[in-house]
Amino acid sequence: MTTNDPLLSVRDLRVTFTRHGEEPFKAVDGVSFDVHAGQTLGLVGESGCGKSVTSLALMGLLPARGNHVEGEVIHEGTDLLKLSSSEMRDRRGRDIAMIFQDPLSSLNPVVPIGIQVTEVMERHRDLSRKEAMPKARELLERVGIPDPNARLKNYPHQLSGGMRQRALIAMSLACAPRLLIADEPTTALDVTIQAQILALLKELVEDTGTALIMITHDLGVVAGLCDEVNVLYAGRIVERGDRHRLFAHSAHPYTNGLLGSIPRLEAPRGERLTSIPGSVADNLPWTSSCAFAPRCPRVLDRCREETPVWEEHPATGLRCHNPAEVSHG
């Protein structure tokens, strides 16, 4: 059921970190995207590209001091960035929910799981603990935790990594938010569990029609899950596309590099793994150039002198002076 109006509309989001005695750091430098109801959007990029900061800014979870946020985040007609903290607090958990990377540290070690689930419902649905407990049980069951009754009374350290993440997913969906943000939810888990959790997320999202923003550095995660993919570099989106299209033909050299560096089973033996040379520390500023220029195999002189502009095509978007369409088998 997609309506034409996006569920969430991020417009030119900028987050600058200020540190005492040091240069201000632009973690997010003009990010814009839309999320429609029921859609799964991927935010992909290396560590340090600003994807996590983006999600924290959306939720209003950045620390009170040391940063400056600009732009607009329109959710159901309201700019979230302009809300007071108590108004934002009302929306978190109820309209937008978030799950994080490390399930063990993300859970309160001295409170039983059951209460950590019911507290969301007690808060937003005005239920008493007694009323909420059976629903919590259902939720745990829904996310695939066996023996949910016992688990309600367990403490986080008594659960395995995969179960903890499932419990966190249950907590996030407790009040049926229309948007869920998942920040690297599987990075801290074993590979086999990763697959399970991703499958669970996919299933839940389809069943409930919740929109999902999936933040990850792992393209494998994106491939199976996201409708639309945004590739971030140094705080700006450099390529956007529908998943099938992007994986089949990517255009930005960075995206190409990311896709090219995935080891492929059917590649000939002895073929070297390609990597992207340099690191994020080599970046040039976006204001006067293309940040990726020092590492780009297709760099032109223009790239170091002029910032590339965002070009919107049907179903794709690109920020590059010298793109190349590469087909990936």
Partner: protein
């Protein structure tokens, strides 16, 4: 991390021997894994932050002033602290403590000695007592801690059991017990008693630090490369472990001075007070405290200031070197 082609290994170019090349690589490895910012060591970045921290600056300032004072005080003091220029002014009944007059800005004490001079020179003895006690405690603690942490096994268990027990006794009581063993209590009694209190603290600290190091990456790497145990301990583990020990030593110095004062107050220490010491002066001032509180307040203020200085410095050092409090 980055490139493979990276920096060339200078040792291959210079043609060093195999052993020396190995050592150099180990050292670089050890240094690299402790670094948090490329090219900036932990100590250097800590120092940068400390330079701007007012708490540290005040503490270090006081400490430095105190040490300077302790060194130059005999020349600074107008009178010999053992001399009794005001003796004829002392009247046990009516005027036991001579008040201020020209040449004696703070007046005298009950034996007619110039108070200001005694205060100034007292810094020397106070510093000596504090430093020696801490030094002995440090040496004892480091020895024990290194033995326990480096050797491990049953040596570790036995040593740590004793240390834990010593730590379980309230420190002042322990000090009193040690002091009670002395036939003729003197300044050395105070020093030793306080040193004994500090030994378990340092031992525990060093051992904990070493244990943490043992499983850290750079030590594992060194072991994997076959470096001998002794070398590992002395060249790779100890230098990293010393950081917290130094911080603790500064803090311990503060408490050493205070505990020394407490012991003097209880009656340990020199009966011969020709060489003044602040704790002792404070203790001697007890009988006169009601009518002449200044006799106690001056040495107490000195003790407090110096202890505060060391504490402020130690605390800010600790916070600066603590990787967790980095923001």
């Amino acid at each position: 991390m980055t490139d493979q082609q990276g920096t060339e290994n200078p040792s291959t170019k210079r043609g060093l021997s195999y052993g020396e090349r190995r050592k150099q690589r180990i050292d670089e490895l050890a240094a690299a894994s402790v670094d948090e910012t490329p090219g900036v060591s932990l100590y250097a970045s800590a120092w940068r932050r400390l330079r701007r921290n007012p708490v540290f600056l005040i503490g270090a300032g006081i400490t430095v002033l105190f040490v300077i004072l302790a060194v130059i005080s005999p020349w600074l003091a107008p009178w010999d602290p053992a001399a009794t220029p005001l003796l004829d002014k002392v009247r046990p009944q009516s005027n036991p403590i001579p008040g201020p007059e020209p040449g004696h800005p703070l007046g005298g004490d009950d034996r007619g000695r110039d108070l200001l001079s005694r205060l100034l020179v007292g810094s020397q003895q106070t510093l000596i007592v504090g430093v020696m006690a801490t030094l002995f405690g440090l040496v004892g603690g480091i020895t024990l801690g290194t033995l326990a942490g480096a050797l491990g096994g049953w040596v570790d268990s036995v040593i740590m059991r004793m240390v834990d027990v010593l730590l379980s006794i309230p420190s002042l009581l322990l000090a009193i017990s040690i002091a009670a063993l002395a036939q003729k209590p003197s300044q050395w009694t105070v020093i030793i008693a306080i040193a004994v209190i500090q030994v378990p603290i340092f031992a525990r600290l060093l051992r904990g630090s070493l244990l943490g190091q043992r499983v850290s990456d750079h030590v594992l790497a060194a072991r994997a490369l076959g470096v001998k145990r002794g070398a590992i301990v002395f060249r790779h583990m100890l230098p990293n472990a010393l950081g917290p020990v130094i911080v603790q030593a500064t803090l311990v110095l503060a408490t050493a001075i205070i505990d020394a004062a407490a012991l003097s107050f209880l009656g340990v220490g020199n009966s011969d007070d020709r060489r003044p010491e602040w704790g002792q002066m404070l203790a001697r001032a007890q009988p006169f405290i009601y009518d002449h509180p200044h006799l106690a307040i001056y040495p107490a203020a000195c003790i407090i200031t110096v202890a505060l200085g060391f504490t402020l410095m130690g605390e800010s050092l600790r916070e600066a070197l603590d990787p967790k409090s980095r923001r």
